[in-house]
Symmetry: C2
Subunit: 219 residues, 2 copies
């Protein structure tokens, strides 16, 4: 498709750049250098220039980047003009938080419907999003390609199978289970317990002294 040569590491940073460019524009700034952007997003300025360069020459030497132009370019590249519908599976602690938040700001994704197994939740709405029974998944989940999984770990495999059978192509998995999917389905695991444990491990085993070359961030 589009640009299959763009490194995954770069692709993951694009939404970050986009957000900060929006901030800059709202502040009324018309130009920005890779150095300035670097300070804002905490990514090395050479990395930023390299990232941008995969899309061609977006800046001007001696000047920097035009905020308006760059923003427009990324809007197209990140498909900000077309909404992607998302389904949320499991309206518990985490799921409820996501429904209330709903990723609305500067974002092209929207949770459109939710599912739960608890009859007390079914039929209600949170943040304006309707909650259906998980048994009605196949019926209600029309054309949605992306799902957020926030159910108990022991339900993860079974539910994933149903999602995949119904045509889901991307899953943001918050359960500790490492779910199995066919090759054409993409899964991103966000494992909060592990993130916390890893942070503590780094804290204890990789002390960041003034001696060690600056490395404030890992994620």
């Amino acid at each position: 498709m589009d640009q299959n040569k763009i490194p995954q590491a770069t692709a993951k940073r694009l939404p970050l750049y986009y957000r900060f460019l929006n901030n800059l524009q709202m502040q009324g700034k018309t130009r920005v250098s890779s150095k300035e952007l670097s300070e804002a997003v905490k990514v090395d300025s050479a990395t930023i220039r390299r990232d941008f360069s995969y899309f061609g020459a977006l800046g001007k030497k001696g000047y920097g980047y035009n905020v308006e132009y760059l923003l427009g370019f990324f809007r197209k590249t990140l498909d900000q003009d077309e909404m992607t519908d998302v389904a949320l599976i499991g309206v518990g602690n985490l799921g409820t938080a996501f429904l209330n938040y709903n990723f609305t700001k500067n974002n092209n994704t929207k949770i459109k419907l939710a599912f739960d197994a608890d009859p007390n939740k079914v039929g209600t709405k949170i943040g304006g999003i309707p909650i259906y029974h998980i048994d009605d998944l196949e019926e209600k989940l029309d054309d949605v390609k992306v799902a957020i999984l926030t159910i108990p770990a022991n339900e993860a495999d079974r539910t994933t199978e149903r999602l995949v059978a119904k045509g889901i192509k991307a899953i943001l998995n918050f359960t500790p289970a490492r779910i199995t999917v066919p090759d054409d389905v993409r899964v991103h695991h966000i494992d909060l317990a592990i993130e916390l444990q890893a942070l503590v491990y780094f804290l204890k085993h990789y002390p960041l002294d003034n001696l060690v070359p600056s490395k404030e961030e890992v994620h």
Copy 2:
């Protein structure tokens, strides 16, 4: 300190291995091969063997790994025997979810206290964890070195400064703000909106066909 030669990528996988080894032990399994473990955690078996090898020869050729032994080894390595106290800043949608969950299973971290600016929340408890007023941060935050940040983005910088001044050394940041900290403080950003956007970007631009070499997961 301990083993400064262990790659960060490896260190991040250790808690994952530990969790699945626990599962295996609970299932009564006494031995496991890198291949089996690979299927469970979705990490290439060569990578697993390489990861383990940084800690010496933990397995036996032709046999695999002894679950009991490996588990014991990682328990020590990951300091599972000593609890690390964590403070949670901002008891809103996300913060409340975390307090209810509290990372209890197979885990050496525990949220010990929480702070919020909302007087209605101050003085109450969630999941048994007391919520204090953010004004009392310096007084209550005794010896805690790790904080979870779940406050509005525009409060992030100010609050981070206070946390750092009080001696916090590691921050799990859920706000979209890219906070600035001294070199000796570690920050992991978990940016849920960006994770979702990146997933959608990959979905649209990196189609996973049967042609493409299997690459089901990125995170």
